[in-house]
């Protein structure tokens, strides 16, 4: 029950913050993506198919509120959540520094999938060097966000280091 309520709260907060505060904290015209960071953090913290559901619901809500085609962002976020779930067992015992690395990779891949998705639905103009450059900067920004977001996710979902494979000690 706590997990379900927590996920709704996290998803709602991520979308609302992404549409209000985050654009005002842009660096060099590049806006971070709190929704992506939260999807990666939930996938690391929670594991299991619930994280993919979280990606779908949050992504779809954000898509519907944006001006781009609905569903493309949700699909790309879902793909990233599944990838993080896939690599999650290998994160065990590596160390906390792995979280920003996963955040960077997840953000870049979600953006890449999104651009490919847009191209497939007829918006190929977005697939450009400029977009990829923006994506690279965004990934760095999101990577920095992932660790603090993960700590918030763990607190909200009531997860601790026993559940989350990011500690330096094998669990």
């Amino acid at each position: 029950m706590r997990t379900t309520v927590g996920l709704w709260f996290l998803g709602f907060s991520a979308v609302a913050l992404q549409r209000s505060l985050v654009p005002q904290l842009a660096i060099g015209g590049v806006t971070a993506d709190l929704v992506v960071a939260s999807v990666v953090a939930v996938a690391i913290a929670l594991g299991g198919i619930s994280a993919a559901w979280y990606a779908i619901c949050t992504g779809l809500a954000f898509d519907l509120l944006s001006l781009r085609p609905a569903g493309v962002g949700a699909l790309s976020l879902c793909a990233v959540a599944l990838l993080v779930l896939w690599v999650r067992p290998t994160l065990r015992g590596i160390g906390i520094w792995v979280v920003p690395v996963v955040g960077i990779a997840g953000s870049f891949l979600s953006g890449l999938f999104y651009l490919i998705g847009l191209a497939l639905v007829g918006e190929e103009a977005f697939f450009s060097i400029d977009s990829l450059t923006t994506l690279a900067w965004r990934s760095l920004y999101d990577g920095m966000l992932t660790l603090p977001v993960l700590l918030v996710v763990m607190a909200v979902l009531g997860r601790n280091e026993r559940h989350v494979p990011i500690g330096s000690k094998p669990l």
Binding site: R19, L64, L65, L67, P69, G71, L75, L118
Partner: protein
Amino acid sequence: MNRERRRRTWFLGALVILLIVVMVDRRSPTALDPVRNVLGSVFSPTEGALRVVTKPVSNLWDNISSNDLRDQIDELELQNEQLNEELSSLRESVAQSNALTHLDDALVVSDFEGPIARVVAGSPSNFETSVIIDKGEDDGVGIGNPVVSGAALVGRVERVGPNQATVRLILDRDSTIGFRLGRSREAGVITGLGSEGQLRGELIDPEADATLDEPLLTRDVESGLYPPNLLIGTVADEPPQPGGAVVREFDVEPAFDLHTLEFVRVLDWVPSEETVFPPVGGEEPLVDGVLIR
């Protein structure tokens, strides 16, 4: 085991539904509007409250990211002065071109009613160029209303909630506008280049020419998405010579500055009922509501 299988089946079902959503939204961009409206009314109050609560954070960020506020103010004052001069000269150009084409009764921005709105947030994503304004349905704002800053066209309202609206800027990659040059009256098409803050123009007549700093105005097209004679921007570089290039594109400097955009006016004007709203990235090339073949 059964439970796990059921969960996987549900998940695959969700993915299929998501694909259907993508296709439906592509085919009919307004089909999901009821869902969008519900979501908008759920998120809008929270977003408004978050903006108020987090204002000190964004103000602090502004101060950190601006190296020297005094220099910035001086620069802006200078720019303001220059823009005022440019505006006077552009108004003169518009008046001249109206007179030349017997359009003395053409509407100008001041002829329209409409609320003044504050820009409360920029694009929530790196892949759309939009702003959120603090006026919505309760203030008479409607979908399709053009939005201006001074005399400059900024964009059009795409989504509207009770107290806020999303404006797709003319800089967005999905924005295409028919234009007419201020002096030569040659027609063409402008597309946005995203958050780079630039526009790309292309003349319809391959032999036509554009001169540097020539103003570009919205075209007088029946069932167009914008009223005619709104200032879009100025020619920033001359197009290649006729016959010298297959595509004769040129850069256009928008008449407004995205980075200093703070207040806008929503014009009480809606496209005529016959206007075909361009499907975003659709197969049929629509320019300012007109089908181009």
